[in-house]
């Protein structure tokens, strides 16, 4: 699983927004939190779903069910915006 290229994170106040380098990729902004930045960076390089679940549970010391639920929400947001690369 990989994010489309041309996306980057801009820090604004204590928030993080995802933007695209060109409006042809994406016109809006997606606000994410710090753990979202962690996921974003991994997805930029390409990573499997299970690898992401493991990375979240390890880094944030949360239960797998919590990690899956947060991850699913995160991925859905980016999928709905057309920002996950087709495999």
């Amino acid at each position: 699983m990989k994010l489309k290229s041309g996306l980057y994170v801009n820090e604004v106040g204590n928030e993080f927004v995802v933007l695209a380098e060109k409006s042809s990729i994406f016109k809006g902004m997606i606000r994410i939190n710090k753990s979202g930045v962690f996921l974003f960076e991994k997805l930029q390089d390409g990573v499997s779903y299970d690898e992401l679940v493991n990375a979240l549970t390890e880094k944030y010391e949360v239960e797998e069910s919590v990690a899956r639920s947060d991850l699913d929400r995160f991925i859905k947001t980016f999928e709905d915006c057309g920002l996950i690369e087709d495999e």
Binding site: E15, S23, M29
Partner: protein, 239 residues
Amino acid sequence: MKTFQIACGNLIIEIHCIYEYTLKKCAKFISFGKIPDIVIEPMSEDYDVFKEKFKSSSAEYAEFMLIFSVLCEKVLKYGGVVVHSSVVAIDNKGYAFLAKSGVGKTTQTLLWKECFKDRAKIINGDKPLITVSDSKVYASGTPWCGKESFSECETIPLNALYFIERADENSAERMSSGETLKKLLNQFLIPHSGLEHTNKALDVADTILKNVPCFKLRCNTDISAVKIAYDIANCGGIV
């Protein structure tokens, strides 16, 4: 063609326009003999676009708004953003009210003027220029100031920001940075395209979020709303 300079914040802006209307609206801001930071000389094709956009208004008003749209783009380079808001200064400290049109920015501004009397000055009633410099945030009057024409050719430091919502009872609370960011960006008047523009605007938003306390102000039209808003920003200061 008329050519003149105005001062907005610490920027000198040279304007080229066809109609007298813009010159008259800029009267309070006229400046002379300085080297301009920004030159606004709209192209004829832009005139056509704006005449169509404002076809229910006059050609001179369309030109006034065309010049405004160019200004909104050009100030970004100088760490400035035009923000849809009303700004009142009390003892030379600025308080900005943000909301969509019709919610109550002007009402609250006038209540503050009524409450604080000579201590209050309305810096701009509709589209002030917000600039940042060394982690400080400033609000400046502009000629684009709404139908009441409240504006001063002045710049003051911004002390607090209120996002207004209409309510039966008055209350105020500090907002989270997440909620503030979205509401703040909704009131930024920036060009629709250009990553560079967006990044510059986000830099301004970043400085605001880090340095200016932002509050949600639920309020009615009673003057008691003023004390609630002022106090939360000044920790129980004297109204």
